[in-house]
């Protein structure tokens, strides 16, 4: 039972990170109709920044967080400029934007591998140290609680932002109908930039909470990026809650697979899960929006 609970908690923590990546995807997609495949690599750069700040330069946690946000948001803005804006200006036809964001992700990965070198980075201490809290007889690492809490806060904040503020409504409207948005005086390019900033902050938070959990290396970018997508596919496209629940489900499913099936084949858990969900409920568990054109 304790094993089960430990696995469950670890699953929720890692799942929270998947959820955060999925939320970042959704923020960008809502405003640009573009799925930014480089999101995982942006997070990987955040982890890299965390490593330098904490392990090399011995900076404080708060400063580290600010540096991560600065790094991820700057890179997001560069990406927006070179790989996304050319496709926001003209109507989105085909998947050229997909190639462009994948290209950016390839560049990020190569640059990171030059900086990282071949070796995985040593584990990084969490914001509240490596302590644990005992909840219902189970020791829970504080870094896990931090991951979970961060995701919940981000989701609620985004939900309020999209539902309650004028800007939030505008940011959803742009992707749905660019012309109508333009008529209302909404500048699609500024919205696109803003979406990348918001998604960048969310991804930076993901990097901050995941840094103590994974021993980061270049592979983290693609893996977390794709798993963030799988979280989103399971939860349902366009739904913030779907992102979160999809992420948690995926995280827990992986840990259960490790525990009861075979830890070596953990990655299969995600693949099988997403194939089953798509076969049974293509729109995802909470999805309402059909991605398919028609």
């Amino acid at each position: 039972m304790t094993l089960f609970l430990t696995a469950l908690i670890a699953g929720l923590a890692v799942g929270s990170v998947y959820g955060l990546i999925a939320l970042s995807y959704t923020v960008v997609f809502n405003s640009t109709s573009i799925f930014n495949i480089a999101q995982g690599d942006l997070m990987m750069f955040g982890v890299l920044a965390a490593y330098f700040c904490l392990d090399r330069w011995h900076l404080g946690q708060l400063v580290t967080l600010l540096v991560i946000i600065a790094v991820v948001v700057s890179l997001s803005l560069i990406e927006e400029r070179v790989a996304v804006r050319p496709f926001v200006k003209r109507p989105v036809v085909g998947l050229g934007w997909f190639i462009a964001t994948l290209a950016f992700s390839l560049i990020l990965e190569t640059v990171a591998s030059i900086i990282y070198g071949q070796n995985p980075v040593v584990p990084i201490p969490g914001a509240f140290g490596n302590g644990t809290v005992t909840i219902a007889g189970v020791n829970v690492a504080t870094k896990f609680i931090l991951a979970f809490a961060t995701m919940i806060v981000v989701m609620v904040a985004l939900e309020v932002f999209y539902k309650r503020t004028w800007l939030g409504t505008a940011m959803r409207g742009v992707a749905e109908d660019r012309e109508v948005a333009a008529l209302r005086g909404i500048d699609a390019l500024r919205i696109s930039r803003l979406a990348f900033v918001i998604a960048g902050v969310v991804t930076a938070l993901a990097a901050f909470v995941v840094a103590p959990i994974v021993s980061a290396n270049v592979g983290v970018g693609l893996t977390y990026g794709l798993k963030g997508f799988i979280a989103l596919a399971i939860g349902g496209f366009g739904s913030l809650r779907g992102c979160v629940i999809g992420g948690l489900l995926l995280g827990v499913a992986e840990q259960m697979f490790d525990l009861y099936v075979n830890a070596n084949y953990e990655i299969l858990a995600a693949l099988i899960l997403v194939l089953i969900v798509l076969a049974v409920r293509p729109a995802g568990l909470f999805g309402t929006r059909a991605v398919r054109e028609v």
């Binding site: 799925f35 495949i37 070179v82 790989a83 050319p86 496709f87 085909g94 998947l95 050229g96 934007w97 997909f98 190639i99 462009a100 994948l102 290209a103 950016f104 992700s105 390839l106 560049i107 990965e109 190569t110 640059v111 591998s113 030059i114 693609l222 893996t223 794709l226 798993k227 997508f229 799988i230 596919a233 496209f237 070596n264 084949y265 990655i267 299969l268 995600a270 693949l271 997403v274 194939l275 089953i276 798509l278 076969a279 293509p282 729109a283 991605v291 398919r292 054109e293 028609v294």
Partner: protein, 658 residues
């Protein structure tokens, strides 16, 4: 620039350099076969060449799915890997070892199954889902293989160390066979693209709405693309393990998938040779700069980005443009077969001009008032000298029942776009549908062709319900349509835009068409001839060989109309076919509508050009705010007060007001 080249060409006295089109590939093929003589034929070298050649087959496979059918199965390396593992395991555990053919077949079958496992669920959502799910599979398969003892875990399976396995083909002989397989794969992709299957791929790639409107089953067609592509990639896996006698997780990393994509993009997706050339460039860079390898990702990333943004069609598209300028690829000359010259329709121009002014809600309303004026109406009905051929229905011809819409309702959010709508389209009659912008005309049309689903009500032909069917079923039941803004395959010629519609109703299997079996050849030719006849009948003989992207708006509308006719439907739904047309074209559309009705087709005509509608329609329905305001004959409409009051704000019948 182009002038200079033309000048030089003239000075050299070369009128045509079309021979270059054949000479360049011929030389390249010969060079390809001679590579061992030029670059060394040690077994290590040959192995390297064969590795590259296997990758080229994957590139050809990916191009079919991605370049032509628009299905981004980026993680095709996962399919390649499972095909390779299948073949190598079979070779390892078979007591006597197996040959190249058996390994290719096993690789192909296993690859096909792998492709289906990814494609079946991912295609249910479509778009970039396939790209990401397959990319994830490309990440997962080597990761799992690294841990799995059966497939040799991290070290892989060295087939050369298996005592039972003794390849009967090796050395240069194997190289020649592998080169021939690459050429065969390329030839196959060419044959596929120029077959009814390829036509469907391109239609679907252009627009799902377009494709389903001519009866193409989108899910099945996408799946077919994945299946063909995966089979080829799996087969490449078989060839790879036969020639390398080794397979390990590192043989198919995700980075390899990205390299393939880079090659495709740089060479030019959706061209036959582009992916080959692009892949050779990319693999060349990768091999050549080995000391520089850790920076290669940046080089490829930047190249990929630059091409995606500035040259989305790749190098070969530039080459095509350039060779056209150089006269290697002579610009397509208009072919004018014996038929009616376009000038034959000029006679109706004056009448058309008078009625061509309508447009928009206010314009439409003004035109209602203007309609009874004799000049416009009579000029419209005058037949041009030559007669159009008859187009009796073929699809759905057995059932002569009308198409009936009953109590149709549809809302979007809080807005009810169509409410409590009854409409009957009778075979052999023109049913005009008028109303201001936003009155629900196009929504109604989209409901009939099932792009939208009904909230309430029924749509049927006789006893056949259409409202619970998918769009392609509606088209196959004999209901053709056009779109408010024409949907054409812009990279294809006018003729190629019409051919897929003919092919839907000419029976022939895809395999017969691809492999050019007797019936395939016959039906391919028949589709071409029939498409040509329809385009000629519409006076479009001068544009048949022009790319749709080069056609003016009015011509595009007519090509779309030709495509709808090419289905030989029982019902045609036309969404503002006259908008933006020249007087001559307008005349043409009116004549076509009448001719279709005369051939026994039921026509639904949505138009703002009310004089045109009133002059050719048998029945007119007027919509207002999603509801039926009026239904009756044109004469009754003229006498009705409700339409005039809604459109003009007056309480007199139109006759009196004019």
């Amino acid at each position: 620039m182009s002038v200079d080249i033309v000048d030089i060409r003239d000075r050299l006295g070369l009128d045509s350099r079309a021979w270059v089109r054949w000479a360049v590939p011929a030389v390249l093929i010969i060079v390809l076969y001679l590579v061992p003589q030029i670059g060394g034929s040690g077994s290590f070298r040959l192995g390297e060449y064969e590795e590259v050649l296997s990758f080229l087959i994957i590139a050809v496979a990916l191009n079919i799915a991605m370049g032509y059918a628009g299905q981004y199965i980026l993680g095709i390396t996962a399919v390649f890997a499972v095909g390779a593992y299948g073949a190598i395991l079979a070779a390892k555990y078979h007591p006597h070892g197996i040959g190249l053919v058996a390994m290719c077949i096993i690789g192909g079958v296993v690859g096909a199954v792998g492709g289906l496992i990814i494609g079946l669920p991912a295609l249910r959502v479509g778009g970039f889902y396939l790209a990401l799910v397959s990319l994830f599979a490309a990440l997962a398969i080597p990761t799992v293989a690294q841990q799995w003892g059966l497939v040799g875990a991290d070290t892989g399976i060295p087939l050369y160390a298996v005592p039972g396995f003794a390849p009967e083909i090796n050395g240069e002989e194997l190289y020649f066979i592998v080169v021939s397989l690459v050429l065969l794969a390329t030839l196959f992709s060419w044959a596929l693209v120029h077959s009814r299957v390829g036509h469907r791929f391109v239609a679907l790639h252009t627009s799902q709405q377009l494709a389903t409107s001519i009866g193409i089953r989108s899910y099945r067609t996408q799946l077919l693309a994945i299946l063909i592509s995966s089979t080829m990639a799996g087969l490449a896996g078989g060839i790879y393990v036969y020639s390398q006698q080794f397979f390990a997780p590192g043989s198919s990393s995700v980075q390899f998938a990205v390299l393939l994509l880079a090659g495709m993009t740089i060479g030019g997706m959706g061209t036959i040779t582009g992916p080959l050339i692009g892949s050779v460039i990319i693999l060349g860079i990768n091999q050549f700069f080995t000391s520089f390898q850790q920076y290669n990702g940046i080089v490829f990333g930047v190249l990929l980005l630059v091409f995606a943004v500035f040259l989305p069609n790749g190098l070969m598209a530039r080459v095509a443009v350039l060779s056209e300028r150089l006269g290697i690829n002579p610009p397509r000359k208009p072919r004018i077969p014996a038929g009616r010259p376009a000038a034959a329709f000029a006679g109706g121009a004056a009448g058309g001009a008078a009625s061509g002014v309508a447009g928009g809600a206010a314009g439409g309303a003004a035109a209602v008032a203007a309609a009874p004026e004799p000049t416009a109406a009579t000029a419209m009905t005058e037949k041009p000298a030559a007669r159009l051929p008859s187009w009796p229905p073929v699809l759905g011809a057995n059932d002569a029942s009308p198409l009936v819409v009953e109590g149709a309702k549809r809302s979007f959010g809080g807005v009810t776009a169509v409410d409590d709508m009854d409409l009957t389209i009778t075979r052999g009659q023109v049913h005009g549908l008028i109303g201001s912008n936003g009155s629900g005309k196009t929504t109604l049309l989209n409901l009939i062709s099932r792009f939208y689903s009904l909230d309430a009500g029924q749509i049927r032909i006789g006893s056949t319900r259409l409202d619970n069917q998918r769009p392609h079923v509606v088209a196959r039941a004999g209901v053709a349509r056009t779109f408010q803004s024409p949907k054409l395959m812009l990279r294809e010629t006018a003729l190629e835009n019409v051919i897929p519609a003919v092919e839907l109703r000419v029976r022939c299997t895809g395999a017969e068409s691809i492999l050019r079996l007797p019936r395939g050849i016959r039906t391919n030719r028949q589709a071409r001839t029939e498409a040509l006849e329809i385009l000629e009948a519409l006076g479009l003989q001068h544009v048949i060989d022009q790319k749709a992207s080069a056609l003016p708006h009015g011509t595009r509308r007519l090509v779309e109309l030709a495509r709808a006719i090419a289905l030989r439907p029982s019902f045609v739904l036309l969404d503002e076919p006259a908008a933006g047309l020249s007087p001559v074209e307008l005349e043409m559309v009116a004549e076509v509508c009448q001719n279709l009705a005369g051939s026994g087709v039921g026509v639904l005509l949505i138009e703002h050009n009310v004089p045109m509608v009133l002059s050719i329609a048998d029945t007119v329905t007027c919509l207002h705010q999603g509801r039926r305001l009026f239904q009756g004959t044109p004469a009754e409409l003229r006498a009705d007060t409700s339409v005039a009051s809604v459109f003009l704000g007056i309480d007199e019948p139109l006759e009196a007001s004019s």
